[in-house]
């Protein structure tokens, strides 16, 4: 037989994971389904978006959920020229940390602009909602620049 012939084969790990959310994460996704965004008040009074179940400093359970805006400002961003399977777009886009109006911490999502030159830190963006929503992070299709917004 042929010596040194090495075998390879495709190995696929696939599962339709179903995740129970608990009340805090569930409230966030419920709001997304309804077309708005909620955060949660941390022990130091900051509003965390997305809402976390436990305080990032004291670890105490957080309970006070509040509504925030669906527009805000890009805090930092990365230009994804060649998106990976599963990412929000299959054409170039930006991943960004976006601090929404009324929030004190930024959340991660995609920003849709034509090219990298349209991106800048501090630019205002607004959520673009999907028409069909189920309670999922992808209920927000992406964020897009607010017309006439400061940049």
């Amino acid at each position: 037989m042929a010596d040194g012939e090495l075998l390879t084969a495709e190995l696929i790990i696939e599962y339709p994971f179903s995740r129970t959310t608990g009340p805090v994460i569930g409230a966030f996704f419920t709001a997304l389904r309804e077309g708005f965004i909620v955060g949660i008040k941390a022990s130091d009074g900051r509003v965390l978006v997305p809402p976390f179940e436990y305080d990032p400093i004291t670890s105490e359970s957080l309970t006070e959920m509040v509504e925030v805006g669906d527009a805000g400002e890009v805090v930092t961003w990365a230009w994804v020229n060649d998106p990976l399977e599963g990412q929000p777009f299959d054409r170039p886009f930006a991943f960004a940390l976006i601090k929404l109006d009324g929030a004190d911490t930024p959340m991660l999502h995609a920003v849709d602009v034509a090219d990298e030159s349209a991106m800048s830190t501090g630019m205002r963006v607004q959520a673009r909602w999907r028409a069909e929503r189920e309670g999922h992070i992808n209920d927000i299709e992406c964020f897009a620049p607010v017309d006439g917004g400061a940049s």
Binding site: I12, Y15, S18, R19, F36, H136
Partner: protein
């Protein structure tokens, strides 16, 4: 658990309790050098084991490593396609991804000349008649379906020989 207070807009809505997050990852699986050589042998209807240079035990499928001595195994030993059932289990349960007809027998089979049993199916016999010590032989899939996988052995079936003596396989039970 502490009570969550929600903004008014979430009052009286049916709350999301779970989300779907399907995931699919594709990998190139590489069995490695010794297993590749073993599987290439299977594709030629040959069962190639390896002998450990330290403990002299014969491992099949060849793994390239002696699991007790932690040294590479290189000496090749070709094994016959007959062996002894050292233990088995009659399966009556379906599970994810399974395609077998119930019930069926999954057995540990010690090939003659090998020092470790391999797990495979026993067919062409009523499940109730499978027993420890039974002599079995490999039944291969048709030649045009043979490939580098142990599934090239369709199953094992009884040879009809007298049972092996307990002493010949008791160290593998």
């Amino acid at each position: 658990m502490s009570e969550i207070t929600l903004p008014a807009r979430l009052d009286d809505l049916e709350m999301v309790k779970s989300i779907r997050t399907p995931a699919r990852l594709e990998y190139d699986y590489m069995p490695g050098a010794a297993p590749s050589r073993f599987l290439q042998g299977v594709a030629q209807k040959r069962l190639l084991g390896q002998r450990c240079p330290v403990c002299r035990k014969v491992y099949v499928p060849a793994r390239g490593c002696c699991p007790t001595d932690g040294v590479p195994t290189e000496e090749e030993v070709e094994l016959p396609h007959v062996g002894t059932v050292t233990s088995f289990c009659v399966v009556n349960v379906q599970f994810y991804g399974q395609v077998m007809e119930l019930p069926y027998v999954s057995a540990l089979i010690l090939l003659d000349g090998s020092d470790i049993p391999l797990m495979h199916l026993i067919q062409e016999v009523d499940a109730r008649e499978v027993h420890m010590g039974q002599r079995v032989e490999a039944v291969w899939v048709p030649d045009d379906e043979i490939g580098p996988t142990l599934e090239s052995i369709k199953y094992f079936r009884p040879t009809g020989e007298p049972d092996a003596a307990w002493d010949t396989y008791k160290d593998n039970v």
